[in-house]
């Protein structure tokens, strides 16, 4: 039982990272119906940007500021990483997706795959083809809450991710820009007629989605301590799955989906080798996708997705 709760805590922290990335997928999908395959690679660029900033500031695992200075460094790193990724997302939209807005449906998908390959290769040129370590500068303190142990990093990850999600929810639901986004998502032409600058709103969606991926890259580094150029591909796949699981196009769904998948993957490592050969860890992806398929069979539009009535 303790083990189970412990794994749920682990799953919760990974899940929030998945959720942050999934938000980018789901926002873009909601507004332009495009699976943005490059999104995972933007996340990877986010981890690399954070590592580079630490490098620029001369911060290593052994020599780094403490106290408020540390918090300042962390905040700046996170913000810069978000900004770089956001601008990257904006540029990608402008170059690779906007010319294809009225093209056949699969053309932007292939374009997205092309961008993903470009970013991945760029990452390998930038930081090499092996794992890059992310300095563990946040003090590691573990707290025992009842039967489970939770570390300070876990708490930081949860706090950053949750505050970003709440911020996003607030922005989409309560601001003018958020209303414009929802309008464009619902009916692009009608929104344009109502005076919404559609191109700007779509650009902004990519901007915000990519910024969230940048933040996810930063906290991923804090949590796991390393990154590699293909990390975005794997995590992107899982995050996209999370977005679909929650109901693609639905922000709350993406968060729920991310957490559910995080917990499933954590729990799957509890499956002993006597049930599945080599234990659950080896089967993690298969288990995630099998559960996804099962859920979609019973809820074809995801957990929180609305059953859209068929237009005739």
């Amino acid at each position: 039982m303790t083990l189970l709760l412990q794994e749920i805590v682990v799953g919760l922290t990974t899940g929030t990272i998945y959720a942050l990335i999934a938000l980018g997928y789901t926002m873009v999908y909601g507004i332009v119906e495009l699976i943005n395959f490059a999104h995972g690679d933007i996340f990877m660029i986010g981890t690399f940007v954070s590592i580079s900033i630490f490098g620029l500031l001369g911060i290593t695992a052994t020599s780094h500021p403490t106290g408020f200075a540390l918090i300042g460094v962390l905040v700046i790193t996170c913000l810069v990483s978000m900004l770089v990724c956001a601008v990257l997302g904006l540029v990608i939209e402008r170059v690779a997706y906007r010319p294809l807005r009225n093209a056949p449906r699969l053309a932007p998908l292939i374009s997205a795959i092309g961008v993903s390959l470009i970013l991945e290769n760029f990452g390998s040129l930038w930081k090499g083809v092996s794992f890059v370590s992310f300095p563990q500068i946040f003090p590691q303190v573990t707290y025992d809450i009842g039967p489970v142990t939770i570390s300070s990093v876990n708490i930081l990850v949860l706090v950053v991710a949750l505050s970003l999600m709440i911020g996003l929810q607030w922005m989409v639901n309560s601001t003018r820009i958020g209303r414009a986004m929802r309008a464009v998502a619902q009916d692009r032409e009608a929104a344009a007629l109502m005076g919404v600058n559609v191109d700007r709103i779509i650009g902004l969606t990519f901007f915000i989605g990519a910024a969230l991926a940048g933040a996810a890259g930063f906290i991923y580094g804090l949590q796991y301590g390393s990154s590699i150029f293909y990390i975005g591909f794997q995590l992107g796949l899982i995050a996209f799955t999370a977005a679909v699981l929650g109901g693609i196009g639905n922000l709350a769904g993406a968060m729920l989906g991310g957490v559910v998948i995080g917990i499933i993957s954590a729990l799957s490592s509890l499956i002993p080798g006597s049930i599945l050969p080599h234990g659950g860890d080896a089967w993690q992806n298969a288990i995630i996708f099998a559960i996804l398929i099962l859920i979609l069979v019973f809820r074809p539009s995801g957990l929180l997705g609305q059953q859209v009535p068929e237009k005739v």
């Binding site: 699969l106 080599h278 539009s301």
Partner: protein, 668 residues
Amino acid sequence: MFLSRSSNILLPASDTRKLLIKWVVALLVPVVVFTLWGGESIINAVISPATASGGVPTDTGSLVAAAIFTVVFNIVVLLLAGYLVAADSGRRGMIELWVEVIVFALVPLILVILLGLILGMALAAVAWLAYFYVRNAVRKARHYTPPPPLASLKAINAEQRSVLMSRAILGGFWFGLTFALISLVVDLAYFFSGSLPTVILIWAIIRTILLPVAGYFLGRLAGIMALRRTLPQTGNGTGGNGENGRNGSRNGLRRRQQLEVLSTTRAREEAKDLVPNDLPLRSAGAQRFFLTLLVAVMLFYPILDSFLFGPGTDGRLAGYGDAGYYVILALGLNIVVGFAGLLDLGYVAFFAIGSYAWAMVGSTQFGFLTGILVNPHIWPWFFWPMLLGAALIAAFFGVILGAPTLRLRGDYLAIVTLGFGEIVPVVFTELDKYTNGINGIVGIYSPILPGVDWSSSTPYYYLILVLIAITIFINVRLRDSRLGRAWIAIREDEVAAESSGVNLVRTKLFAFAAGAFFAGLAGAFHAAKLGSVSPDSFGFGDSVIYLAMVVIGGIGSIPGVIVGAIAVYAINVFILANLDSLASDPNNILYAVHNTIANVVPGFTFGNIRNLVFGIILVAIMIFRPEGLIPSARRRRELQHGNNEEVELGALDVPPGSAEFEAEVHVE
């Protein structure tokens, strides 16, 4: 827009000479270049094997094949000459045609001679892009718009038919004569310089007589072919194919009416294939000849290769064999994505299943699994039934995957297929009791066929050609079948299709099964050719590449998908993967390019930026040709329809202006 009904659909007969010069020159240039490059040495090797230079196959089988190819090549070229002269309306100038022949035939030919097949074709494609760009720029600068293609649906009378016939004959004859004379002059020059054996001189003289005579008769045949593509004259018994005058003329009348009732776009499309027309090189009639030529080249390629490109045939054929199963994979995926419109991101799973099907049966693994002792001399025979077996097993899994996805729409379906594609390799990795896990299965048997040596690449080349031919045949038949139309219907509108009586469950499951079937076929071939399989060669990245092949080629279009598969494979494997080895050769231009970059960026290799370049190419192709390289006819019509907002008068039942039209439109 009304179709033009100009009265002069043929050039006057006196202008035949102009047409002859135009086409004989246009055809001679590439044909002579080809002959001087490799055609001559093929013939020489056939006539006198003793004089053949080194590296060229001189065994009887190869020589017979080479001789057959030469005969086929010459027949097709002579037929083409006759057909083109007859089919040309003469409305486009000589210079324009010659420029196009140079750009589209001579430039690729020369590049292929200089750089080899793949790199040459790739550079030719770049040259074509540059040509289009320059041409459009020039046209824009001079405010020139090309005249719309002749859309005359006027029937031609008996007199005009005889003119066409004589043109065809003259075209074949004059082409044969000039070609023979040029070859004779070249051969005589070589003979007097002493480097031509007498036996070949005798052949040269025979050829000089033979070619014009053959040109005459083949020209007549080409004329008959051209005449079958004309609209027969209404109410005149000479129409049709002559077996039944009245029936023929009624057919002709019906055909013309059909064309006029069609929309402008369709009528223009149809008119493009009639004789005479403005662009005979692009008409369906001429395309048959190109196709014949292409098939001949592909069939005899293993023999031609060493004549054309020198040593190293086996390695090149191995590469083309690998490219071949990508064609099958792309065609199979095209059924699911292109025809039925179901986005499949996990297609690699079926390929993996097909590969493992033969790997587990056709290796010692089978003995471990079942305890049955396998005789390695007889067991590989089992490959042939297992080719079908692997395809059927994959199709079965296609149905299994299809079943839970029936209620899903759009991208929810995509993620389930993606999930399936992720699960299958994990299963193959972790069930190592059966599949040998991450190490994969090695020592998979090659097929057996008496008298065939499977250690070289040639049999695999022919095997994949046969498999591709079967796949194309089934694909075309499926597309035009009731089932194919049901697929297209659910792609366009699921609800409308269902209410029109399409059984969604069956139709979708058939699409998944048919797609998976071809992946299984390709998988079994892949396992046998490579001799080993391992689970990490079947990833999401591979599924994505197959999808890119389909979309880049032109979704739903069979020729497009074939071209797309070859193009993507060639870019990725033949070109980008080979840049480094090319750059290590100091004679190559890439050597200088590499050194220049390496001076700025230390440690630079082309391998490091392979995916970068590939990604840029993918994005660029999509931005400049979002509908794919060769869009399907249906999609092309949709696109044209979007551009052309005019009301299509031909599509209306009653023409506007008539009293009935006013009566219909006028609403109280």
